[in-house]
Every structure is written in C-alpha cells, then in structure tokens.
C-alpha cells in the first residue's frame, strides 16, 4: 500500500523527508513527494507527518453498517 500525500494539507515541514528510511522523499514546489518505484510501503512518513497530511489506510469492504445479506447460518 502506497502513501498518498494530501498536497492541499502539506505545509512543507520536511519531517517526512528526514525520517524516510529509504531517503526517497523530497519537496517539489514546497510540498512532499516521493519516488514511488523505490517506496518500501513502510508507513513511516504517514506516522510522522504532523499535519496528518499523508493517507495510509486500507480500504473498507462493503461500507459501514451494511450487512452481508446473502448468508444465513443454519445455526
């Protein structure tokens, strides 16, 4: 899973650039960006971002509150 940088949120603080263990992050026009082919999907950038500006979340399946109707247990 690759992080998604919310460019609208990013304030260019550079913490993610410093903390990326692979050192593949930088700033373009003052906003965080990374070399995706070298991304190790470790999640550290998302963890250290002080503005919560990096999305790193797994998708939900059927949406909150929906019940999977097709299955009826015999019990």
């Amino acid at each position: 899973m690759f992080p998604v940088i919310n460019v609208f949120r990013c304030d260019g603080c550079g913490v993610c650039v410093k903390r990326c263990p692979a050192q593949i992050m930088g700033l373009i026009n003052g906003k965080a960006a990374y070399l995706q082919m070298l991304c190790e999907e470790c999640g550290i950038c998302a963890e250290v971002c002080p503005t919560n500006g990096i999305q790193f979340e797994l998708p939900r399946a059927y949406g909150a509150g929906e019940v999977h109707e097709a299955y009826q247990s015999k019990r």
Partner: protein, 649 residues
C-alpha cells in the same frame, strides 16, 4: 520416493492432528498480513496468499488470527480478518476451500489481541490495568467478570463459525501479549476473582475457552492452542518457566489436541527470533512440554533449515515443524525440500521487515520476496514467468544482491543475461556484511540462493571482469543494468585519502586491520554493523561520529534496540549530531552540537558514509540503475528494485 523422503524422513512422514491425517509434519503458522479489508472481510489478496501457502505443500495450513468481538477490542491489526458475525463466513470459507483444494488440513485461528488490541479504538482490554511500556499500544481497561464470560462465549461462537466455514480444525492464539497470555501472566493479571490469582485461576479464562469449544464442537473436532512456553518477562513479574508449564498443562487438559509452543512476548527485552538467535535455539522449551505434557507439540521460531526440525522430530521433541517467516519468504519451501531443491528456496534472513510493517499499519512485506501480496498477479511471476517473446541481450554490472536478483528474473524470462563482477567473488555488500557477528553469516544463504537461480536459468556470471568501454562495444547489449552498489565517500571531507583512513568494506572483508582506537564515520546501519564487527573482536576502542540526531534511522526498529544494547555493552561512544569537518592523521575533527570544534583522536578512521558507486563513463542501449547504485538503502531495496525492474523486461 522423492529426495525429501530419503533426506528428511521424519519431516515427510504422515502425521496426525486428533483423528485427522496430515501428509507431512509441516505446519504453516498463522501470520497476520493486513491484507484484509479494514472492516474485517476477507480480501482477494488474502485468499491468493493462503492459496500460495497451500500449494507450497505444507501438511497443515493455518489462517491468520480472526478477531472475535464486534467492538474490535480484540483487533490488533488494521487488516485483520473478523469472525464475530456470521456475515464473515462466506469470505472465510474461500480460504478453507482453497486450503482443502491442495490437500492440506485447514486450521482457522481465533485471536483476541488483548493488550495489543483495540487498533481502531482508544483503549484496549485485559485482566487488569498494567501500564503499557511500548508507545504504540492503547491504555488498558480492566474487564469485568461479566465481560470475561461474554468473551469466552464469543470465542466459542468463533469456533462454531470456523467449523461452519469448513475448516478442519480451530486454533486459539494465547501468545506474545494477546488476551489469553495477559490472563496467564502474573505480569498483566492482578485480579482477585476466579480469573486471577494463583496458577489455577490465571489458567481459568483460557481453560474455559477450550472447554467451551470442546463442548460445542464435540470430541472429534481438533483444537490447537498456541501458548507461551517461557515468557521472558521475569524482569517485570512475569511467569516463571514452572508456572508456564503448570498453566499450559491445565489449559491443554481441557481438551487440546496439539500445543504450539512459543517463547517471549513482543514486550520481552530479550532477542527471540532475530538473526542473533541461532536456529533451533528454543527447541529445549518444546521438548520440556513434550516430556511433561505427553501430548502432540509443535514449534516455529528460528527453525528455518530442515535439518533442525528433522533432528527434533527424530528425537521426539516436536510432532510438527511449524514455520512462519521461512514460509512468508517462500511458501513453496515444503515442496522444494521434498523435491531435493533447497537451493531454490528463497531464504528468510530474519530481517523482520514483515513484522515491522504490521506494527505500522502497513501490509506485510518481505525483504527477500517482492512477490508477497502479488501471488495471483501473473506479471509478478510468483508461480513462474513465461519466456519472453522479445529476447534481449542484458548486461548486468555487479553481482551483489541487486545484480544477482535482476539476473535471476531476467534469465527466468529467457533473456540472454550476463552478470559481470569486478571482484573475485560475488555477493557485493551482502557478502561483506556476512563477515559480521551474531548470525549475519546467514546473508550468504541469500547470495547462494540467487546464484543458484541465475545458474539454473542460464544467466552467466563472470567474476574478475570489469566492464569497460571495449567490453560494452564487443558485447553490444540491448540493456545495461548498473548494480554497482555503494562505496564510502572519500571526497566528503578533507583528508579522505589519508593513510589512516580506510573503507568499512575493506575492514569487514579483512583486507585492512585497524589500530586499537577506531572512529567510524557514518550514521546509517552500515556504520552500526561496522561497529558491531569490531565490538565482536573485543580488542578495539570504538566510536561512531555522524551528523544525524540518532544512528541507524534506516534500520528496522526490531533490530535497532538490539544493536543499541550491543553497542552500549561494547563500550562504543556515539558522537551523534556531530558534523565531521576533516579527517586528520590524529583523528576526526568535528563540530559538536553547540558548534564547538572537537578532535576525536584515533589510530584508524573507518568510512561508513556510503554513496552510490555509479560513475558511468560509457553506455550503450538502455541503461537502468538499481539498488545502492541508485540510492543507498538496505538489502530489501536492492532485491525489490531488481525484481521490479527485471519483471518488466
């Protein structure tokens, strides 16, 4: 009769789980992946991963733990499967079906993560409130007796759903800091009611779960339980080995068919499964339980190569060889051993990147197998690459991990591959690092495996051959892959070519011997490994100097605390936040955090400030740069770069 039957007769003898027969004594152990949807439904990626594990030939295949409660108090991983409602059964059934398809016994694991749960909540639950020591974990709340009863019932319901989904057996996780282990351990259980106190009472909660499942599912449905044989928490009031034995005995007597013995908690301050622990190290704990409880026993934990479990099986210490990381690295491990092709096994390096990813809410990743999570995607070639229809001549410069991995994949795709290595031996920095202590020699397993892949796919390896303009002209390749790795940066500071300045690579290769006082210039894992190499020799006075706030920001957290401990024990001085100004005959001139100039005296300066070694004077065709030659990183990056590139050829 296949080679494995002859060489490892015990591993490949049929086994029994309760009344069920298994085709061999290999059990693929439960592994969290974070592949599933964050609301608990099973994802295609998980099914594809479990299919790979089943196709690999293990006699028993275990799912990851599924959490048992609707609030998610038991949920410790963002992509963990759920079993707290019938609606999850169809997804779980997909996994049971695919395991059965490949003739393995299917087991589903129930897991309430307890102390390390509540991943989507701001609290976690347990027997008592005992403060967390690791920052990631949520503040604990004490469960009421009524909540404990509900939790037992939820486990029993989970087991019923497990059977309904078509699994042959159910496994309960009671290890490493999860809920059952929290009740079992005197460290985390301070209760005064029926679920806390003496060993009998601390065993009560898990015992009731086993008894409840046994009652509902009848005498024949196999129940496996994973319990801690030794907690390694004596420094904080955890159980003694004798208490663990007694408690586990009580729990197993409630109706368990097999006990999987583990060691240590995530919180334990001792190494348990890292590379510095020799293979087979913990078998004595399994043996104790086998002898005392006289029931079927299995164990994982640093049993990577078959000779260790084979001997343990022969001796009767274990009944099944359980395997987690070794089979994350290569699900096909059982079949490869059976067919007598161990050199084809992708060897786990115990880098623990897999586990580190889970703790950062990321998907499971493997340092040595980039296809993890992509098993069903044909272009990744997990089940094999089709030969190319557009054969290219590929020249690879450098036979380190990146070069060898790229060569192996490109050759499997039937390209014309030659790997050129200027040194007289292959393996690059990995071979150099294999001179390090505490299990690092195992890096050679990876080098040898990649060499074997190259050779069996027809890639040629030419050592003692530097790639020159003339060679490129003569060979006229379609593609050149630059995999020349990294070197210390002698140009970084004045004095870099002084007589007392040496490369960390030359040092660890034994080409140079330092004087007594050594200063290592660097701040990444390479600098730490160089220091540990010297610490192990015991005759040096070692310091490390670097500009970063902390050393080893590129090192996996699972190793960094261990390294820091060893550096401290070895008396290594760490000059962090020091900017090196010059390398002088007397030592290293640096600027301390307050801006003052300091001289760090020494006999030898070792440079571990790696930069890409990618000085290209001439090229032909398409040029690609991978591994450290592109950006200096760790071994997993070399493997991943190479694989991801070559798979597109």
């Amino acid at each position: 009769m296949l080679p494995g039957h002859k060489e490892y007769p015990h591993i490949f003898s049929p086994g029994k789980l309760g009344k069920l027969e298994t085709k061999n004594r290999i059990k693929y152990a439960s592994t969290e992946t974070n592949f599933n949807y964050s609301d608990g439904y099973v994802a295609d990626k998980e099914v594809a991963y479990m299919e790979a594990q089943a196709r690999g030939g293990a006699g028993i295949v275990t799912t990851q733990g599924a959490y048992t409660d609707p609030r998610g108090e038991g949920k410790g991983y963002v992509g963990m499967m759920a079993i707290w409602d019938d609606k999850f059964i169809p997804g779980l059934k997909r996994i049971a079906d695919v395991i059965r398809k490949y003739d393995a016994v299917s087991v589903l694991q129930l897991m309430h993560c307890g102390r390390v749960g509540g991943i989507h909540l701001d609290y976690t639950v347990g027997p008592s409130v005992v403060d967390q020591r690791l920052p990631r974990f949520r503040p604990p709340r004490e469960m009421t007796a009524e909540e404990v009863e509900i939790c037992i019932a939820q486990h029993v319901q989970g087991a019923l759903r497990c059977a309904e989904a078509g699994f042959d057996a159910v496994e309960i996780s009671g290890i490493v800091g999860y809920l059952l282990s929290n009740f079992i351990s005197a460290y985390t259980n301070k209760r005064n009611d029926e679920f806390g106190g003496d060993v009998q009472q601390r065993a009560e909660f898990p015992r009731r779960i086993v008894a409840g499942i046994r009652k509902q599912l009848g005498p024949d449905y196999p129940i496996i339980i994973r319990l801690c044989g030794e907690e390694l928490l004596l420094d904080r009031g955890g159980n003694t080995p004798e208490e663990s034995l007694e408690i586990n005995r009580i729990i197993c007597n409630a109706g368990v068919d097999m006990l999987s013995v583990t060691v240590g908690w995530q919180e334990s301050a001792e190494s348990v499964i890292s590379r510095d622990i020799p293979q087979g190290n913990w078998l004595y704990v399994a043996k104790r339980f086998k002898n005392e409880l006289k029931m079927p026993v299995c164990m994982a934990y640093r049993l990577f190569e078959p000779k260790y479990p084979e001997a343990a099986l022969a001796e009767g210490s274990i009944d099944f060889w359980e395997s987690c990381r070794a089979m994350i690295a290569d699900p096909m491990l059982p079949n490869k051993i059976l067919e007598g092709r161990q050199e084809d096994i992708i060897p786990c390096m115990a880098c623990n990147i897999c586990l580190a990813r889970l703790f950062r809410d990321a998907e499971l990743t493997c340092g040595v197998r980039p296809t993890l999570g992509h098993e069903s995607e044909a272009d990744w070639g997990f089940y094999g690459f089709k030969p190319t229809t557009d054969k290219q001549k590929i020249m690879i410069v450098g036979a380190g991990l990146a070069g060898l991995q790229a060569g192996a994949v490109a050759a499997e795709k039937a390209h014309d591959v030659t790997i050129y290595e200027k040194k007289d031996k292959i393996g690059g920095q990995a071979a150099t690092a294999a001179n390090g202590p505490w299990g690092d020699v195992e890096f050679l397993r990876l080098v040898n495996h990649l060499r074997s892949c190259c050779e069996s796919n027809g890639a040629k390896i030419k050592t003692n051959t530097t790639v020159t303009t003339e060679l490129i002209e003569r060979e006229s390749p379609d593609k050149i892959i630059l995999a020349t790795g990294a070197k210390p940066d002698r140009e970084a500071f004045p004095g870099g070519n002084g007589d007392n300045v040496v490369s960390c690579l030359d040092l660890m290769d034994g080409v140079v011997k330092p004087g007594k006082r050594v200063v290592i210039v660097g701040e990444k894992g390479v600098a730490i490994s160089t220091a540990l190499f010297l610490v192990d020799k015991g005759e040096y006075d070692v310091s490390i100097v670097g500009a970063a706030k902390k050393l080893g920001l590129d090192v996996n957290p699972s190793y960094i605390w261990r390294y820091m401990k060893k550096l401290k024990e070895g008396g290594v001085t760490q000059y962090t936040r020091h900017k090196v100004k010059a390398l002088a005959p007397e030592g290293v001139l640096a600027e301390d955090p307050d801006g003052r100039e300091v001289m760090i005296p020494c006999d030898t300066i070792v440079l571990a400030n790696m930069v890409p070694d990618n000085d290209v004077k001439y090229s032909k065709g398409e040029l690609y740069t991978i591994g450290d030659a592109l950006v200096t990183r760790r071994a997993n990056a070399a493997i991943h770069d190479a694989y991801r590139l070559a798979m597109t050829f």
